[in-house]
């Protein structure tokens, strides 16, 4: 019961921070709302008995990536958005976004309320210790893991080459 209350509160904070991210006109605030959202995600992982994922979420997203985002926003002085003015050729985007968003919401409502809940398999508790995660990564999922490492390496080399003095 206590878990349910916490989960509902977390959900509310999560939705609120996501809305804040989308609606704030100041890029710094948007970035901070995203950090808050990641933090809520980490706590939800904790509730699900996955502490490893929780701390990785905080240290990778909140601790590294979003700090870089903030750094870039501050460095460029790009925090203020000019009042809404659609760039030319983008007038179709707003109705399209509304339509797609409504479709997604409708789909979620269908899955949650109309489809039989019995069709959803109950979650089985699994070992989520760092050891288990490591064994899975370097055992069953070794190939995708290596592919992603190579992909990141390519991105890194690309960034270095693009910024190099000619």
């Amino acid at each position: 019961m206590a878990d349910l209350i916490v989960l509902v509160l977390l959900g509310a904070v999560s939705v609120a921070s996501a809305l804040g991210l989308l609606l704030s006109r100041n890029a710094i605030y948007a970035a901070l709302f995203l950090v808050l959202n990641f933090g809520v995600g980490a706590v939800i992982y904790l509730l699900l008995n996955a502490p490893f994922l929780a701390v990785v979420q905080v240290s990778v997203y909140a601790g590294a990536i979003m700090v870089l985002f903030l750094f870039v926003i501050m460095l460029l002085g790009a925090e203020r958005l000019s009042p809404a003015e659609d760039p030319p050729g983008a007038s179709f985007q707003r109705p399209l976004a509304i339509g797609l968003g409504a479709a997604l919401l409708g789909l979620a409502a269908y899955v949650l309320f109309i489809r039989q809940p019995a069709a959803i398999a109950p979650a089985t508790p699994i070992d989520s210790s760092p050891t288990a995660v490591g064994l899975a990564l370097f055992g069953d999922y070794l190939f995708p893991f290596e592919v992603i490492s190579v992909l990141l390496l390519v991105a890194m080399i690309g960034a270095v080459i693009l910024t190099r003095d000619r």
């Binding site: 710094i28 901070l32 701390v55 990785v56 909140a62 700090v67 501050m74």
Partner: protein, 334 residues
């Protein structure tokens, strides 16, 4: 709920010790640096100047709290809090003594990762303080801080990885246990000297203390990110810095100096807390000594040191350590 009550009581005691420790660390630093510079240091308030922190605190409470007119108010007020909180919550996973009485959550199996995560989040306070003050010095200080912390976090994390490999556990309680067998040579500072050196340097950089204090370089940036802060908000930044000093010393003790271990801890568990405190104090004195000795490093050199020296060496150290453990070299792994 006895568990909740116990955790609350322990946290309250820990907070009290940390805040007192912060107050007296400021006196210790001023006195020790004064001695190193052949001065006497504060000696007017109370015997040997021991009431100096009380005087400082009272003075700061009565100072006018100025808020810049163009500042971003919410973030301006939030920033000092974001500096203090990560420094304090680091202690949740540090075992300060033998047995569950002196430990809060040090047995969680992701303790080392928690440390890296919390230290990574700690930079927000400084960055936001710099940005929200709407002051060019503060903004430059905040930018420097983020660049510095991002650069040195890698080396810090990788030096902790070497320690985790040695202990084959990410729980700080297990890391202390792994340094226990045998004599003093079991400490990771002797078995992992490279990781210890990298941790020491990168941790100083994360703290933005001399010789890495160009975040608040007086001559060029007045006071860096805290230029616009006064009164108790300034005191909070001060507190964040000193509590983080204690936290980093406690982490160095836990990772490399055998934590609370020492002779006769099995007979008298309370002795372990004393050992821990003595080791932390030694680290703190070393840090203050460094500040009094070394000049500030230049900004491009700081970046070059972080990216071109510390990070590659830390990566090589992790690879070598892993190889030695896999090969089963005595003294590596457990």
């Amino acid at each position: 709920m006895p568990v909740l009550l116990e955790a609350t009581l322990k946290s309250a005691v820990l907070l009290f010790v940390l805040l007192t420790g912060f107050a007296y660390l400021t006196v210790l630093e001023r006195k020790f640096i004064a001695r190193l510079q052949a001065r006497i240091g504060p000696n007017r308030a109370g015997p040997f100047g021991l009431l100096q922190p009380v005087a400082d605190g009272l003075k700061l409470i009565f100072k006018e709290s100025v808020t810049p007119a163009q500042a971003d108010k919410p973030l301006y007020f939030l920033a000092p809090v974001l500096v203090v909180v990560p420094a304090l919550i680091l202690f949740a996973v540090i075992p300060v003594g033998k047995g569950p009485t002196f430990q809060l959550a040090s047995d969680i199996n992701v303790g080392a990762l928690y440390v890296v995560g919390v230290m990574g989040v700690a930079v927000y306070g400084i960055t936001l303080a710099g940005w929200a003050s709407n002051n060019k010095y503060a903004a430059l200080g905040g930018l420097r801080a983020s660049a510095q912390v991002i650069s040195y976090e890698l080396g810090l994390g990788l030096s902790i990885v070497a320690v985790v490999l040695m202990a084959s556990s990410a729980s700080l309680a297990d890391i202390v246990e792994a340094q226990m067998p045998g004599n003093i040579l079991g400490w990771f500072i002797f078995r992992q000297p490279v990781a210890a050196a990298i941790f020491a340097v990168t941790a100083m950089a994360e703290l933005a203390r001399a010789p890495f204090d160009l975040v608040e370089a007086e001559q060029e940036l007045t006071a860096g990110f805290m230029t616009e802060y006064s009164g108790m908000k300034f005191a909070l930044f001060f507190m964040g810095e000193y509590v983080k000093m204690i936290a980093v010393s406690a982490l160095f003790t836990t990772f490399f100096l055998g934590g609370w271990s020492g002779p006769f801890v099995n007979e008298f568990p309370a002795l372990s807390v004393v050992y821990f405190a003595v080791k932390v104090l030694a680290c703190l004195l070393l840090m203050i000594w460094t500040r009094a000795t070394l000049p500030r490093i230049r900004y491009d050199r700081l970046m070059a040191l972080g990216w071109k020296v510390l990070t590659p060496v830390a990566i090589a150290n992790v690879i070598v350590t892993a190889l030695l453990i896999v090969l089963g070299v005595p003294g590596f792994g457990s």
